[in-house]
């Protein structure tokens, strides 16, 4: 029995008597809050262990935990995508990685670790971007769990899954379970694309990324953070030209730290440190193992309940704050009718008649429910302003000075595109 367990493939052959003693207490009989459609016993076990295919996006802090939980819960066909390699700083929480793995693909190492530790589970890694995969790829899964630290990637997968929904094909609706953590805080949520509120619907709930006005950074720094932003936003391109800054590269961070520290000294500002530099440029609050464990467990618990119908699942948002006792809040986040991804309507915006195109762009960049960098604008008939390619940018640049009201009629539509936006945002303009 033991020797056979390390061979992967035919999942059920590696199960030993009593292996699922704990999970089976749940799967053998319904509870008071179990839906009548629950098929207790062999049928549900067969689906979970032999048929269900689940995708995990991200093999980092949350991903490592998610993979371990899914494997122990009885999911046997698990896929994982991650474009990152293992960094030395990951080892204090990403518990599937060892010092010898530094520099290797997170997805590959995590998959291998799980298959070694939990017999009979097949984990198929993909070392690359989620954007490399098409709809056919995502269509093969029953469920998708996201443990990502990037808003952009989440918006992409969310928009992709909402787009995939075909009302004639129930199989095309892929439940998306999303988790995220920051320090002692975290959230887990269940998204049924087109049915419940989606990731885009709740974009305004995100903590506003601390964006410092460029004039503060350039002219009136007050905080150590302002000096660090100065080093990374203004000084790095000036000194290094086109060389891309790698926030995982300690040499780059050290350079930024030294430049920021010098500026802070000049302005008599205290508090620039290496770790603050790292925190500011990566825009992160350090993740910790315990919060990751809680949120990953919550995500996997929802996946297990959805896959087995053994109990009601989360409707639809769980938020945890662990700084003062244990505080959590479970609520139903409501769908936004004007959600640009799942609402199917254009977003109405009120624009001052005197506003220039440049002012409108500023407003779009600032809006928390839109979150776009460098947007390009057009109307159905003409280009208003394009950020790229350079010729088009040059040709449309004079429009920045023009009033929006000269270019777009009242009630007219503007299409916003951007490389960071995984869909075309349509705005309906009314003038005030």
């Amino acid at each position: 029995m033991a020797a056979a367990t390390l061979v992967n493939g035919n999942a059920s052959s590696s199960d030993w008597e009593g292996r699922y003693h704990h999970v089976d207490q749940i799967l053998d009989r319904p509870g008071p809050r179990t839906d009548p459609s629950f098929l207790a016993g062999a049928e549900v076990k067969d689906f979970l262990r032999d048929k269900c295919k689940i995708l995990v996006i991200g093999a980092g802090g949350l991903g490592c935990e998610i993979l371990a939980n899914l494997a122990l819960s009885g999911f046997k066909d698990i896929h994982v995508i991650d474009m990152d390699t293992i960094d030395i700083s990951n080892l204090n929480r990403q518990f599937l990685f060892r010092p010898k793995d530094v520099g290797e693909s997170k997805a590959n190492v995590a998959a291998k670790f799980i298959m070694n530790r939990v017999p009979g589970v097949k984990v198929s890694p993909y070392f690359g971007k989620i954007q490399d995969k098409d709809e056919d790829y995502y269509m093969q899964f029953n469920l998708i769990i996201c443990g990502l630290d990037s808003v952009e990637a989440r918006r992409w997968i969310n928009a992709t899954l909402v787009n995939m929904v075909d009302s004639d094909n129930p199989e095309s609706l892929k439940p998306l379970i999303d988790g995220g953590t920051e320090g002692f805080k975290g959230q887990a949520r269940v998204i049924l694309p087109t049915v419940t509120s989606c990731y885009e619907c709740s974009l305004d709930m995100l903590n506003k990324p601390t964006a410092f006005p460029i004039c503060t950074i350039a002219n009136t720094p007050r905080l150590p953070e302002h000096c660090i932003e100065w080093a990374s936003v203004l000084e790095w391109p000036k000194v290094h030209g086109d060389k891309k800054m790698d926030t995982d590269d300690p040499e780059h961070i050290s350079w930024l730290y030294q430049v920021a520290a010098a500026r802070a000294k000049e302005f008599k500002i205290e508090g620039v440190t290496y770790s603050l530099t790292q925190g500011v440029v990566k825009n992160i609050i350090p993740a910790i193992a315990s919060t990751n464990a809680i949120i990953a467990a919550s995500c996997c618990n929802e996946a297990f309940k959805i896959a087995t119908s053994s109990a009601a699942y989360l409707n639809n948002y769980f938020m945890l704050i662990g700084t003062d006792s244990v505080y959590s809040y479970t609520f139903e986040h409501e769908k936004r009718d004007d959600c640009p991804v799942c609402g199917g309507q254009s977003l109405s915006i009120a624009v001052n008649k005197e506003w220039t195109v440049e002012r409108l762009i500023e407003m779009l960049v600032e809006r928390q429910d839109i979150q776009v960098k460098k947007p390009s604008l057009s109307t159905p008939g003409k280009q208003i302003y394009f950020q790229a390619p350079p010729q088009l940018e040059l040709a449309t640049r004079p429009n920045l000075e023009k009033k929006v009201s000269e270019l777009v009629p009242d009630g007219g539509e503007i299409t916003v595109t951007a490389t960071t936006l995984p869909f075309n945002l349509s705005l309906r303009v009314t003038y005030t």
Partner: protein, 566 residues
């Protein structure tokens, strides 16, 4: 890198990592560089993420990189000094341990006489699946946990807790840990353990965890827990309405009307508010705005101080005007601590905190002092130019130094013995965080179940959480009696605890039903969920930072809620 070299680096780090004079976050990397610069060591290749061959580094060094700024160097030092006893090596227990080993506790012992069963091999990530079958569970788990962080010491103790509790030696050993954690322990044995630890006011806190399928709870037992670094996000007072002399002088000295317009648009809101308050007092018989109409007028006054319509600093001042009517001399939470009765069972290590608390109360009453808590030196960011902001920040910093010195003087007079022996860092941290200090007083595990009045109140206030707790307590009782766990048996036991005729909420039905469905299930996801929650509370207790749970935390992973009852 030779082992001698790695040892050199480790020694260099060890010395510096605990040096209080260095800002905690930066030490590791800088030390890396300084260590490599020493003539006896070859340079360490730090470019690990660019695909080059990774350097071989000492494991304990790696794990402290980057240093956990979330609980600072002092918190990390407390973690590294602590010794934790975990009773049982169930899936939940090893999940808890994983999240304590990763951040680097000093030592753990697993006490467990169980032999790995097929069920254990199936639900516990820290066992070698079927290879561990038939071997002692604790012994199998320890190496897999230690592998996560080799700087952590760990041992398996394959003994029965019940037998250890019967001997002096066993009881002393249990009491020698910094913290004891137990999962799904037999109710009678847990009762004995809890009584042992409760009787010793300087003994370790006890975290007891109970889980069954989708339902769980855990309780922290401590007599008293004091926190000075609660990491509260509430802003401390800026003392707008009680300005210290230098602040008032600065606000009065500015000629708002005839200033250079650029300088005018850069006056920090604090100065604007202090000035506006000063002007208001002069024209209102020394009182502050009270009524809604007055508050409105006050805000209007601020906006009328603008010389251009778009001065953001004045808008900021208007938005911050609440400080003028909502900044008490002492926040009510802290005021309440001043009249706290003495707790005879408070642990010895809290005595410095209590002496500091008493001195704080004296400080507020001291006619020579500001009549408030010592001012905080940290200023929030605000619209301003560098010069005005740094100038203002220096004023606050200087005042904070003055008041801290006053406080320390008072402390030395009132508590000479403690002041002489106390850690200066602890005193500084107390003064710095004076606005957010907390004192928690706990109860013994199970005490609430003996108190029918308390239960009745809880059932009324938090029916869902209390019913779920009662159902879990009933489960413990039935399992200890080796009675079959059925819905009827659970309901009967709950009724026995609350008393005949006491009405029970409908939430009891769902909790009881779910527990009867899976009375002994240690589900992987619940184990992982508790693993995170319990470890997090353990870290808060050990580091004495952030505010830990007081009472029971109840968990339902069907509707996905948590709640606290006390």
């Amino acid at each position: 890198m030779s082992s001698q070299e790695s040892q050199d680096i480790e020694q260099a780090t060890a010395t510096i990592a605990y040096c209080p004079l260095l800002p905690p976050p930066s030490h590791l990397v800088l030390i890396f560089f300084s260590a490599t610069a020493s003539p006896t060591t070859k340079p360490v290749d730090m470019t690990v993420s660019s695909g080059k061959k990774p350097p071989t580094l000492n494991r304990s060094l790696i794990l402290r990189y980057p240093p956990p700024s979330i609980w600072a160097a002092s918190g990390q030092a407390a973690l590294e000094a602590c010794r934790i006893l975990v009773v049982s090596s169930s899936a939940t227990s090893t999940s808890i341990l994983k999240n304590l080993v990763l951040p680097g506790i000093g030592h753990f012992s697993i006490l467990d006489s169980a032999i790995t069963s097929p069920a254990d091999a199936g639900n516990n990530f820290f066992l070698n699946a079927t290879y561990s079958l038939g071997k002692p569970r604790a012994q199998e788990a320890v190496p897999l946990l230690r592998e996560l962080n080799e700087s952590v010491q760990g041992e398996a103790v394959v003994k029965d807790l019940k037998l250890l509790l019967d001997t002096d030696q066993g009881r002393d050993w249990i009491s020698s840990f910094s913290l004891v954690i137990a999962h799904n322990l037999n109710k009678d044995v847990l009762g004995q353990l809890s009584t042992l630890l409760w009787a010793n006011s300087n003994g370790p806190p006890l975290i007891s965890v109970r889980s069954a399928g989708f339902i769980a709870e855990f309780h922290i037992q401590y007599h008293e827990h004091c926190v000075s670094q609660s990491h509260s996000e509430n802003a401390p007072s800026l003392r707008i309405t009680r300005p210290f002399p230098a602040l008032l002088a600065l606000a009065r000295s500015l000629d708002f009307q005839n200033m250079d317009p650029t300088a005018h648009s850069h006056i920090p809101f604090v100065i604007i508010l202090v000035r506006a308050t000063d002007d208001w007092r002069k024209s209102h018989n020394d009182s502050l705005p009270h009524t809604p109409a007055e508050k409105k007028e006050f805000k209007k006054n601020i906006l009328s101080m603008r010389i251009k319509p778009d001065e953001e600093n004045f808008e900021e001042a208007e938005a911050q005007a609440w400080r003028v009517w909502s900044e008490p001399a002492v926040p009510s939470d802290v005021q309440a601590l001043f009249s706290l009765s003495t707790l005879p069972t408070a642990p010895h290590h809290n005595s410095t905190f209590h002496a500091l608390l008493q001195s704080l109360s004296e400080f507020v009453k001291d006619p020579a002092g500001p009549g408030t808590l010592p001012i905080n030196a940290t200023l929030p960011d605000m619209k301003s130019d560098t010069k005005s902001y740094v100038q203002l920040q220096n004023l606050y910093r200087a005042q904070a130094e003055v008041e801290k010195a006053q406080f320390k003087e008072l402390f030395a007079v009132k508590h000479p013995e403690i002041a002489r022996t106390s850690n200066p860092e602890e005193v500084d941290s107390f003064v710095k965080n004076a606005h957010h200090i907390r004192v928690l007083r706990g109860k013994q595990w199970g005490a609430v179940d003996q108190d029918r009045e308390a239960i009745a109140n809880l059932l009324n206030a938090q029916p869902r959480e209390t019913a779920t707790h009662l159902a879990l307590s009933a489960l413990s009782t039935l399992l200890a009696l080796e009675t079959e766990v059925t819905v009827d048996a659970l309901n009967a036991e709950v009724q026995r605890v609350v008393g005949e005729g006491v009405e029970l909420p409908e939430e009891l039905e769902t909790a009881v039903g779910e527990i009867a469905r899976a009375p002994t299930a240690d589900l992987p996801n619940m184990a992982a969920f508790l693993g995170g929650l319990v470890a997090q509370e353990a870290i808060k207790v050990i580091t004495e930072q952030y505010v830990p749970l007081n009472g029971y935390c109840v968990v339902d992973l069907i509707e996905s809620w948590t709640g606290v009852i006390n």
